[in-house]
């Protein structure tokens, strides 16, 4: 039986300005935690991308993830119009810095995430299969704005992270049903009793991406849930790493 390898899609480094239990301030600290948890690879972002400066946070992240082959990066984007982050050679910069996906915090960074702001750019990342990671966890987007985004860019590869403590199947299942490149990150889906099993039964295991939510959440929580979920071993392997590998292989930078 093939062993389950864990590829964590939801981790940040850096210490939040208001403090956080167990946050790690550099890649060495994160590697130590990953070894402790049996996690082989991770897509990482830096909390300063959200809390401080997306520009400087992206730079710090690139520096930190360059220290290990086990890391891939997630850069934060801002509206292309201000050219703070999205410049002419943006995709080249992503490739050179091992950045494989993007995230966005519209309400916190004060812009509107729609076709007016991101029309051409979101068309480009849809065509290039570059995943956009969104979080429901930092008061950054509403369900309405997420639905609008997916209606406007139905081919967009979108990974919804930190889906919430209360089960959100009534919100997410219509999106899974309508948009084939829409995925759920697992760190809070695993919290829901039967959430992973019910989603797999309805949509297949290909639509869930493993994440721990470290350092906010406990990695062993989502690991233990997935290992003992009432789904097949192949489904577990898909969720733990294969789905994310498949998404990244399709990417054209």
């Amino acid at each position: 039986m093939e062993k389950i390898e864990f590829f964590d899609a939801n981790v940040f480094i850096g210490r939040p300005h208001n403090g956080m239990f167990g946050a790690v301030n550099n890649s060495e600290g994160l590697l130590e935690e990953m070894d402790k948890q049996g996690i082989s690879r991770a897509i990482v972002w830096h909390i300063f991308q959200y809390e401080g400066s997306p520009v400087e946070g992206n730079r710090i992240l690139a520096e930190e993830i360059s220290k290990s082959d086990r890391f891939y990066g997630c850069w934060t984007i801002l509206p292309p119009q201000t050219q703070e982050i999205i410049t002419e050679d943006f995709f080249k910069q992503m490739k050179e810095n091992k950045i494989v996906c993007l995230n966005v915090f519209p309400d916190w960074h004060r812009f509107v995430m729609d076709a007016v702001t991101f029309g051409d750019f979101f068309q480009q990342i849809s065509e290039r299969n570059i995943p956009l990671f969104l979080t429901m966890g930092r008061s950054c987007i509403s369900w309405d704005s997420l639905y609008r985004l997916m209606r406007d860019f139905p081919r967009l590869t979108c990974v919804l992270c930190d889906i919430g403590i209360w089960g959100v199947d009534r919100y997410t299942w219509p999106l899974l049903e309508k948009f084939e490149n829409f995925y759920l990150e697992s760190s809070q889906l695993s919290l829901e009793e039967g959430g992973v099993e019910a989603t797999v039964k309805r949509f297949g295991s290909e639509r869930i991406i493993f994440g721990t939510g470290f350092p906010v959440r406990y990695p062993k929580a989502s690991i233990l849930q997935l290992v003992h979920a009432d789904i097949s071993q192949q489904d577990k392997i898909n969720i733990a790493s294969k789905n994310l590998e498949r998404i990244l292989k399709k990417e054209k930078l």
Binding site: G22, S190, E192, E193, A198, V216, Y218, L224, V227
Partner: protein
């Protein structure tokens, strides 16, 4: 490293470490889809056994949100799976006449109930409200468990309210459901001040840090495990508790020993 981790990871359950879920529910619910909300004795038993849950103590959503259904929902469910389930007699202070009747009838259902459940944030009356007093007095006298929904900052079931009932009813075994979530300093003080007050971990271990703070200050002897099942997954919470870095002995206390003491004479 906690030695129980490898065993839970390997088998999903550990024979020498049974788990008591002291905070659970039953039944479908209006505001979220619960894949295992509908009670089915075989399926419920199977879900509990996957994670080595020896006993689950619940109060039905339908009891808490419908005075017309009341505790019938609890009685019917427990009697279909008595080796795995017990219930809290649900109290709604907006219907004091039902509380009086439920307390009067409590002895008839000793095979079902181990105590009472208060959901004051939702019922909008503080846990010290006089409408609850027949149940509090009864729990105090009989040494019953009283599971409170508690939340930091709440005027209905925050730390100040817990203090009032803990002082007044020292014979009751008070479980702070969600451990006055977020108000960890006050939770710790309550545990230090009152030996009959326990922290319960549902929602506490959604994020790292709260359990570690409580453990550092109070140790593990006044902490019980709970999940709001069928809301939250047993393996998820078991993994979270172990990942907090606790010792094997502390894990045994939290997962079963403290609950076994609380339930002594009640099941």
């Amino acid at each position: 490293m906690n030695s129980l981790w490898e065993k839970f990871l390997e088998n999903g359950r550990v024979k020498e470490c049974p788990v008591y879920d002291m905070h659970a529910h039953m039944g479908s619910f209006n505001r979220i889809y619960l894949p295992f909300g509908d009670f089915n004795p075989e399926i419920t038993k199977s879900r509990l056994e996957r994670a080595g849950i020896k006993m689950l103590i619940f109060c039905s959503h339908w009891t808490l949100f419908s005075p017309d259904i009341g505790n019938r929902a609890n009685i019917e469910v427990v009697r279909q799976l008595p080796d795995k389930l017990r219930a809290y007699c649900g109290l709604n202070p907006n219907y004091p006449e039902i509380i009086e009747k439920d307390v009067e009838d409590f002895e008839k259902y000793r095979d079902v109930f181990v105590g009472f459940k208060l959901l004051s944030d939702y019922h909008q009356k503080p846990v010290s409200h006089e409408n609850y007093s027949p149940a509090w007095k009864y729990a105090d006298k009989k040494g019953l468990i009283v599971l409170l929904h508690t939340w930091g900052g709440s005027q209905f079931d925050g730390p100040e309210q817990v203090r009032i009932v803990a002082e007044k009813y020292p014979g009751a075994k008070i479980l702070m459901g969600h451990s006055c979530h977020g108000a960890w300093d006050e939770t710790i003080q309550l545990m230090k001040d009152f030996p009959n007050v326990y922290a319960e971990l549902c929602a506490v271990v959604d994020d790292r840090g709260g359990l570690e703070q409580i453990m550092d200050a109070c140790g593990s002897k006044q902490i019980v495990f709970g999940t709001d099942w069928p809301w939250f997954n047993h393996h998820y919470y078991i993994g979270a508790v172990i990942d907090s870095g606790i010792s094997d002995q502390d894990a045994h206390n939290i997962f079963h020993r403290n609950a076994e003491k609380l339930l002594e004479g009640l099941i």
